[in-house]
């Protein structure tokens, strides 16, 4: 392929001619949304408004990140 000769930086501004088909994106999209949801949930809300695990150790451990990322903490 001719594009192999180009450096990555040179391709930053070159539009993609063929988009990735939606069927290939959807399974990963489900994974991405679930993973992002879990990450945000444990940093942002677990052992605050709702609890999956009992106790306060997750809440207390990510306490500062929860406040500084803008989530209501306690």
């Amino acid at each position: 392929m001719a594009t192999d000769e180009k450096s990555v930086a040179a391709l930053l501004d070159v539009p993609l001619k063929v988009a990735i088909p939606l069927q290939k994106i959807v399974p990963w999209a489900i994974f991405g949304v679930v993973f992002m949801g879990l990450a945000y949930y444990f940093v942002g809300a677990e052992q605050g408004a709702t609890s999956i695990f009992s106790g306060m150790s997750i809440h207390e451990f990510v306490h500062d990140a929860r406040h500084l990322l803008g989530f209501p903490c306690h």
Partner: protein, 245 residues
Amino acid sequence: MVGQLVFRGFIVGIVAGLLAFGWAKTFGEPAVAVAINFETAQHEAEAAAAVAAGKPRPPDDPVIFSRAVQSGIGLLTGMVVAGAGLGCLFAILFAFANGRVGNLGPGPISILIALFGLISVYVVPALKYPANPPSVGEPDTIKYRTGLYFLMMAISIATTLGALRLRRSLAPRYGSWNGSLLALGAYLVVIAAAFTLLPGINEVPATFPAVTLWNFRIASLGIQTVLWGSIGVMFGYVGAWASRQ
């Protein structure tokens, strides 16, 4: 290909989380420290008043992790986990947008996703329900406040997606400029309605230092900007790399 993008998004997100930690440590933690001293002083004053009135001293909050852990490895963990989650989602948004949005290369697309993401996931929800340091907010209303915050976030994200869709359908008929303005107008109407209809939350203690509150909120905005911004810049390179594959 999409799996490769997601994996790289995960790595980029972790790096962004480390950068956000650096920002949080430098600009956020001083305000958190002031807020926690305020909280401790308030609790001590309440305890002294209770003892003076002949009542039992209210219990201190149990210390599970020291402040050093909370402001160190705990803060780092929170930032990195949030960054990793954001990075994965970013990869999905990029996979969808790349080649579908105008005539833009992977670099500008990545930056646009970061900009729209920062505004819809953080800035707009925070304009209604701003970040609060420790000792701001009644513990009794945490469920209510968290519910409202996530509701505002959902409305904000849905409105951005709706406006982008609207712009796309209006552009052929009214032209790119007018179509964009109409979509922006519709966006502002919905957000203004949400800001007006959702209840306000004002639980800042009367004597809490205003400067600390301001510094804390600005630090929070900075952290989110570093998080989204660095993912946007780094993922531009990931996208350009993907073009070669």
